[in-house]
């Protein structure tokens, strides 16, 4: 058998190409972006999106779908901008409890065989409600460490890029290198086979939800570090962005086929696509529609990639 790039690498080809092409187009439209500051401005808001995307990826890895990520990140952001800043201990406890709640939801969904879409839809109301109770109007301020972390200026490469690489690396280690990651993806691929090897599927799913909760909390903190304040609706968009990011990065809705590096690339691509649209000066009327169109185009690309992959598999 010939040496051929691993499927993981194959999966990254289209997302990487899309990102490179977009970046080239942005540089062409706006040469100023080709600088330390330019790259940072282009990508720093992608960091929380990347974290939220990874959170969604863990849920998709076990064949579930989470419609509450955005609401949960908003909630985490509100906690970070209030308790975590003023009384760190209580803040940490609240965030830990929230992660535990996330894990518990995963367990309940598995035990009662509930549709994850509806349960997380319900939870999205709950998280938003809690966030509104916490911050009826926008406000709060980030913990100092979060603010300085998000605004450090490392030499040579801007923080946004450094952070993205580090996040991708950590997620890669968890998902493709660690035993837990293998187990979680195994549950997505063939639950029965994992069960037959003596693992607890319940535990694997709970762990996946807990990891998702953890990454979503990190997204909330990073977001507050960037925006300097929070509100109850601050990240509602992340639900959609995160799903799109995972799919864009070569992940699939079922079958445990996910790629953390791809997911981060997907998040960067989405952010860049928005900038691209604004550099294109599309008429404000069509700016929303253009987002939908870009999503459709990229998903069509994915279909094309799958066809290619299948053909190669047959050859």
């Amino acid at each position: 058998m010939s040496l051929r790039p691993s499927v993981d690498a194959m999966r990254l080809v289209v997302p990487t190409l899309a990102l490179t092409a977009l970046l080239a187009a942005v540089f062409w439209l706006q040469p100023r972006a080709m600088s330390y500051m330019g790259l940072n401005l282009l990508f720093n808001l992608a960091v929380p999106i990347a974290l939220a995307t990874l959170a969604q990826m863990f849920i998709l890895a076990v064949n579930n779908l989470d419609l509450s990520i955005g609401a949960f990140v908003s909630f985490a952001a509100c906690v970070s901008a209030t308790f975590l800043q003023s009384t760190p201990l209580i803040g940490v406890l609240i965030l830990l409890a929230a992660i535990a709640a996330y894990a518990a939801i995963g367990a309940v969904i598995h035990l009662r065989n509930l549709p994850s879409i509806v349960v997380t839809l319900g939870m999205s109301f709950v998280w938003t409600g809690l966030a509104v109770l916490l911050l009826p109007a926008p406000g709060g301020s980030p913990p100092d460490w979060a603010r300085s972390l998000m605004t450090t200026k490392p030499p040579l490469v801007p923080m946004a890029i450094v952070a993205s690489v580090i996040i991708a690396l950590i997620a890669h280690l968890i998902v493709t290198r660690s035993s837990l990651g293998v187990l979680i993806r195994g549950v997505g691929g063939n639950e029965r086979s994992v069960e037959r090897a003596g693992w607890s599927v319940l535990w694997a799913k709970t762990a996946a939800y807990a990891l998702a909760g953890t990454f979503a909390v990190a997204a909330g903190i990073a977001l507050v570090g960037l925006t300097t304040s929070a509100d109850a609706n601050i990240a509602l968009r992340y639900t959609l962005l995160s799903i799109a990011g995972v799919i864009l990065g070569g992940g699939e809705f079922v079958g445990g086929r996910v790629s953390p590096v791809g997911a981060v690339i997907g998040a960067l691509t989405l952010t860049l696509a928005a900038s691209f649209l604004s550099f294109m000066r599309i008429s404000p009327d069509w700016q929303i529609g253009a987002q939908g169109a870009i999503l459709i185009i990229v998903l069509a690309l994915r279909l094309f990639l799958n066809r290619l992959e299948r053909q190669e598999g047959r050859a």
Partner: protein, 314 residues
């Protein structure tokens, strides 16, 4: 001389008639300004969704595009401070209006939303010295304008204890939502003498009242064309009296001129205020005539108006 300077408008929402009027005013005023060489460019940008994160990204993009000034209607008073700081650091003039930002390096053209709330009660107190029960229609939960106006209303009620807020609903600044929420709570409410609102929901409330056999209370309107039309009809039919108050969408043009003045080197204080656009019984017809069908009552500003506002603040 600002003929080589370019100004951008960063807008976070375009989903209602007020914002659409604001964008139209921007076009009407900046178009000739660009043509006459006063500024090099004045482009408007709207985010796809009403989210702080999107607007922050948009501002960062505007920084990259090298605008000399950015005029912002902000999604959050504090959420954009990070991005605004970056713009200031890049030497860009930032002017915020309507939704203002708290970042000290930016200019603010503020509307006192708090006062907008308390003025409503003051008006009602004048009209109804005996007081009575009020219904409050709020906006979207978790947004600062909602919180501010509501705080003003409650402060007003404290000042005029003859009033009591008998019920409070969230209408999300949407006609249909207000109508539904009011219709739902109305049967359980005692007699209502006045309805205090936040703009865009007065007509919905009127419809909800009309559907019952209650007496029409004094509903404070929000300058929308349909509200004014309804008021006019009522006025002609039975002499209905009320007031209408809102911020004029054309304030975006004031912000434009302020940015131009700052770029021109003028000394401009960081905090400016604009009055709201208030319509009363006597100037209703005039305002109605000047309001676009289906739009919002509006005032557009000229350079001279802007200079007056600046001079006043100094």
């Amino acid at each position: 001389d600002t003929s080589d300077k370019s100004i951008a408008l960063s807008n976070n929402y375009a989903g209602n008639s007020w914002r659409q009027a604001m964008l139209t005013s921007w076009e009407t005023v900046t178009g000739p300004a660009v043509e006459n060489g006063i500024v090099a460019a004045a482009d408007a940008f709207t985010t796809a969704e009403n989210q702080v994160t999107e607007q922050a990204a948009q501002i960062q993009n505007l920084i990259l595009q090298g605008y000399d000034a950015i005029v912002i209607n902000a999604a959050s008073p504090t959420g954009l401070n990070g991005a605004v700081r970056e713009a200031c650091d890049a030497g860009i003039v930032v002017v915020s209006f309507d939704g203002v930002v708290t970042e000290p390096c930016a200019w603010r053209i503020a509307v006192d939303f708090h006062q907008m709330g308390s003025d409503q009660i003051a008006y009602l107190a004048e009209r109804l010295p005996d007081g009575g029960n009020l219904l409050e229609i709020r906006g979207l939960a978790g947004v600062f304008v909602d919180d501010e106006i509501s705080a003003g209303i409650h402060a007003g009620v404290e000042e005029h204890p003859q009033f009591e807020i008998a019920g409070s609903v969230h209408g999300d600044w949407a006609q249909d939502v207000s109508q539904r929420a009011v219709a739902g709570i109305l049967p359980s409410l005692p007699e209502i003498v006045g309805v205090v609102t936040q703009g865009g929901d007065g007509y919905g409330a009127a419809q909800a009242f009309a559907a019952t056999d209650r007496e029409m209370p004094i509903i404070v309107m929000g300058n929308r064309h349909d509200e004014l039309t309804w008021w006019k009809e009522q006025k002609d039919a039975n002499g209905y009296e009320t007031m209408s108050v809102s911020i004029a969408p054309g304030v975006s043009t004031l912000a434009f001129w302020v940015a131009q003045q700052v770029l021109d080197g003028a000394e401009v204080p960081k905090d400016l205020t604009v009055p709201f656009l208030r319509i009363d019984q006597d100037n209703l017809e005039e305002n109605l005539a000047n309001t676009q069908e289906g739009g919002v009552a509006n005032v557009e500003y000229t350079l001279e108006d802007a200079q007056d506002v600046i001079a006043e603040a100094q």
